[in-house]
C-alpha cells in the first residue's frame, strides 16, 4: 500500500524553501480503497505560514526574439538593371553590395532582390541611376520586405502527465486587430497547428493550454511573416498550474504515506490540509518520525470535504517546506486532491 518516496528536506526555512533541494514524498493510503496514492514533492509549496517572497528586479528584463524575423536574412542578392536601348545586367552576390562595370551611359533602372535559401524573393528595392561615361557612380537602394504570404506553424509542448484533459487554443491577431482563434488537437503533451495563407507582416500569437475548463498555462509571441516562409513557433509550457486529479473517497478514513528524507533524520512530521481553492494550509497533526511515515485521516481529525494535503518534516527545530499532493513529483504527476464524502 505504499510506494517509494523521494527524500524530504528537513530544516529548511519556509521562506526560502524553494532554494532547498531536498524533498519529501507523501503517500496517501486510503482505507477501504485499493488505490495507493503517492506524492513526491520536488517543488515545495507555500508553507504553513502565509508569507511569500517578492524579489523585484529592476532592469531584470527578458526580451523575446521575434519569431520569423530571421527569415528576413537573405542568403543571396540578385542585382539587375535595365539601361539604354534595353541593355541589361544581372549579378548574384552574397554581399550586400556589388559593382557593375561596363555599363552604357544613360539612365538605368536598378533592382535588388534578397533571396532566401529557396530562391524566394523576400526583400526588394529599386531605383534609378544615371551612368556617366568613364565615371563611377554609386546608388543606395533601400531593401524592404516584399508583400506575399507565409505560414505559422505553432507547436505547444508540456508534460503530458501534468494534465488530464488538455486542449490548446491559438489566437492569431494581425496588426489590424483582426484575430482568429483556432483549436489545436492535443496529443501526448503536444499540440500543433499550421496556419496558412497569412499575409506578410507582424502578428500576435497567443497560445493557451487548458486542462478541462481550466487554463493552466499559456504564452504570447510576436511573429513576423515573411513571403514564402513558414515560421515555427515553439511554445514550451514547462510550468503548469495543474488542475489535479480528484480522488473520490467514500470511507470514513484514509491514509497518506510519504518517504522519509534521505539526508536527514526528522524528529517530527507535520500533516497539513487546505480546502480546494484556498491558499492557506492548516495543520492536521504532528506525528513522530517513523521509518515508513504515514498518517491516517479520520472524520475525527478532519470533516468530510475536498482537500489538498501536504506534509513537512521538522529536524532540529526547523520545518521543511511543504510538499503537497499537487506537486509535480506527486503520483500521479498530474497532482491530486481528495474528494472525501464519507461512506
Amino acid at each position: 500500500m505504499k510506494v517509494q518516496y523521494p527524500p524530504v528536506h528537513a530544516g529548511a526555512s519556509p521562506v526560502r524553501r524553494r532554494s532547498l533541494g531536498r524533498r519529501v514524498l507523501v503517500v496517501l493510503v486510503i482505507v477501504f480503497m485499493p488505490a495507493v496514492l503517492t506524492v513526491s514533492c520536488s517543488q515545495p509549496i507555500g508553507g504553513g505560514g502565509d508569507e511569500g517572497s517578492l524579489s523585484i528586479g529592476l532592469g531584470d528584463v527578458a526580451a523575446a526574439s521575434t519569431y520569423g524575423d530571421q527569415g528576413l536574412e537573405p542568403e543571396s542578392y540578385l542585382f539587375s538593371g535595365t539601361g539604354p536601348n534595353g541593355e541589361t545586367f544581372s549579378v548574384v552576390s552574397s554581399e550586400e553590395k556589388t559593382t557593375v562595370p561596363g555599363l552604357k551611359s544613360g539612365e538605368w533602372e536598378v533592382r535588388v532582390e534578397g533571396l532566401n535559401g529557396n530562391d524566394e524573393v523576400i526583400l526588394a528595392g529599386e531605383g534609378t541611376v544615371e551612368v556617366l561615361p568613364f565615371e563611377d557612380a554609386a546608388v543606395e537602394l533601400a531593401l524592404r520586405p516584399v508583400d506575399g504570404i507565409g505560414a505559422i506553424e505553432v507547436r505547444a509542448a508540456w508534460k503530458a502527465d501534468h494534465t488530464l484533459d488538455p486542449s490548446v487554443t491559438i489566437t492569431v491577431t494581425g496588426s489590424d486587430g483582426q484575430s482568429e482563434t483556432l483549436t489545436a488537437a492535443a496529443n501526448s503533451g503536444a499540440a500543433e497547428k499550421r496556419i496558412e495563407e497569412l499575409p506578410t507582416g507582424y502578428y500576435r500569437v497567443a497560445v493557451r493550454l487548458y486542462d478541462g475548463e481550466e487554463e493552466v498555462a499559456g504564452s504570447a509571441h510576436t511573429v513576423r511573416i515573411v513571403n514564402g516562409s513558414g515560421v515555427k513557433l515553439n511554445s514550451e509550457l514547462d510550468a503548469l498550474n495543474k488542475v489535479g486529479k480528484p480522488i473520490e473517497i467514500n470511507g470514513e478514513q484514509f491514509t497518506i504515506a510519504w518517504d522519509a528524507p534521505a539526508d536527514s533524520e526528522p524528529e517530527v512530521y507535520r500533516v497539513y490540509y487546505r480546502q480546494r481553492g484556498e491558499y492557506h494550509w492548516e495543520l492536521i497533526e504532528a506525528i513522530d518520525a517513523q521509518s515508513n511515515p504515514q498518517y491516517t485521516v479520520t472524520k475525527d481529525t478532519l470533516s468530510y470535504g475536498t482537500y489538498e494535503l501536504a506534509v513537512s518534516s521538522v529536524s532540529k527545530g526547523e520545518e521543511s517546506a511543504l510538499h503537497s499532493s499537487m506537486a509535480d513529483s506527486a503520483q500521479p504527476e498530474s497532482g491530486w486532491y481528495v474528494r472525501w464524502e464519507g461512506p
Binding site: 551611359s105 526583400l123 531593401l143 500576435r204
Partner: protein, 351 residues
C-alpha cells in the same frame, strides 16, 4: 594645251549606311575616257566664203575626262556619265563647225589654216550639260593637228544633305559634329540639327562644286561614340545626299556600385521592467514596457498572462487575484501602423 576653264556639274549618288554605297555605280562621269580624234568630216566640211578651196589642214581631237575616279562615296544626284559630246570649232574668218559624238575618235578635215578654238560640252543621258572643255589649236596646211581636250565638270555651286541615325536612347547627350574640307585644305563646319531621338540632319546649299573630305562624329557629351570619314562630291546645281547609320556605338561606359540599405521594419526591442521572479499571494506587481528603438513610433501595448490578454497600457499592475502557481507574462508591442512589433516574456511564480 590645257583647258582654260574647266567646269563642274553635279551628279547624284546617295551614300547609304556606313561605308556602303547605295549603288550609284553609274558613277561617273568621271570615266570619261573617250578618246576622240577629230578630222574634218564631209558633212561638216568647212569652206571659205568664196567657195574656192584654200589651203587646209586637219584636226584629230582627243577628249579627256578631267576627274579622277578615286573611291568616291557621296555623290550627287545628277548623272555624271557623258552620253554625248557636242563639239564646235571656230576658225579664221567665219569658218566653223559643229558636231556631236558619243565618243571615239573625231577627225576634222579641210580646216582652214589658222587658229581654231575647239569647245567640247558633255551631256548626260538626260541632256543635261555636265562638262565642258576648250582648247585652241593651230591648223597648218597639209598637216593633221592633234589636240586633247579635257572635259571637266561644270563649276558652280550645289547642295549637300546629310542625315545621321543611331539607336535612340543609347546616347544621352547626342551631338553630331562634322567638317567639310576642300582639296585646298579649307574647312567648314556643318551644323547638324537633332530632329528626333537618334537622328540628326544637315542641309546646306551654295557649296562650291568639287571634292571634299567629310569628317563626321557622333558624340555623347564629350565622348565620341561613332564616326566616319568620306569623300563628298558637289556638282553644279546637284544635290549630294548621304546617310550615316551608326548601329554599333562605341559606348563610353561607366560603372555603378549598388549598395543595399536594408529597411527591414526591424522588430521593436521590447523589455519588461520591474518584474520579479516571485509574487506573494494576494500582492500586486507593477511592470512597465520598455522599447528602445521605437524611433518615435506610436506604440500599442498588449499584456498577456499565460496567453490571456490582461492589459493594453504601457504599464501593468497585476497579481493580487492570482492563485498560487506559475505564470508567464508576455508583452507584445506594435507600432500603430503595424509595420513593426516586438515582444518580451517573463516567468514568475505566485507563492
Amino acid at each position: 594645251m590645257q583647258c582654260s576653264h574647266p567646269m563642274y556639274k553635279s551628279a547624284r549618288t546617295a551614300y547609304h549606311n556606313k561605308f556602303e554605297k547605295r549603288g550609284n555605280a553609274r558613277l561617273l562621269a568621271a570615266v570619261i575616257t573617250a578618246l576622240a580624234v577629230a578630222s574634218l568630216g564631209a558633212c561638216d566640211m568647212p569652206h571659205t566664203d568664196n567657195g574656192a578651196e584654200e589651203e587646209s589642214g586637219a584636226l584629230r581631237l582627243t577628249i579627256h575626262s578631267g576627274d579622277s575616279l578615286g573611291a568616291l562615296t557621296l555623290l550627287p544626284d545628277k548623272d555624271m556619265e557623258p552620253a554625248e559630246y557636242r563639239i564646235s570649232g571656230t576658225g579664221p574668218g567665219d569658218a566653223g563647225f559643229e558636231t556631236s559624238t558619243s565618243g571615239g575618235t573625231q577627225e576634222f578635215r579641210d580646216l582652214s589654216r589658222g587658229e581654231w578654238e575647239i569647245e567640247v560640252s558633255a551631256f548626260n543621258a538626260d541632256e543635261e550639260e555636265i562638262g565642258y572643255g576648250r582648247q585652241t589649236v593651230e591648223i597648218n596646211n597639209g598637216e593633221t593637228a592633234e589636240v586633247g581636250i579635257t572635259v571637266r565638270a561644270l563649276s558652280g555651286t550645289g547642295s549637300l544633305s546629310l542625315s545621321v541615325v543611331w539607336p535612340g536612347g543609347e546616347v544621352g547627350a547626342a551631338e553630331v559634329v562634322a567638317t567639310l574640307t576642300d582639296s585646298g585644305g579649307e574647312s567648314q563646319s556643318l551644323s547638324f540639327e537633332n530632329t528626333a531621338e537618334g537622328a540628326a540632319e544637315y542641309s546646306g546649299s551654295e557649296i562650291a562644286a568639287g571634292y571634299y573630305t567629310l569628317v563626321l562624329q557622333l558624340k555623347d557629351g564629350e565622348h565620341v561614340v561613332a564616326g566616319a570619314v568620306d569623300s563628298v562630291r558637289i556638282v553644279q546645281d546637284g544635290l549630294t545626299e548621304g546617310e550615316f547609320n551608326f548601329e554599333d556605338l562605341n559606348h563610353p561606359t561607366g560603372e555603378i556600385e549598388i549598395i543595399v540599405v536594408p529597411e527591414m521594419d526591424d522588430p521593436l526591442e521590447v523589455e519588461i521592467s520591474g518584474a520579479g521572479e516571485t509574487l506573494a499571494y494576494g500582492e500586486s506587481m507593477t511592470v512597465e514596457a520598455v522599447v528602445e528603438n521605437a524611433d518615435g513610433a506610436i506604440l500599442v501595448y498588449e499584456w498577456y498572462l499565460n496567453g490571456a490578454p490582461v492589459g493594453s497600457e504601457s504599464s501593468l499592475t497585476f497579481g493580487y487575484n492570482l492563485s498560487e502557481g506559475s505564470y508567464r507574462l508576455d508583452l507584445v508591442v506594435f507600432a500603430e501602423d503595424g509595420q513593426r512589433s516586438g515582444s518580451a516574456a517573463h516567468n514568475l511564480t505566485v507563492e
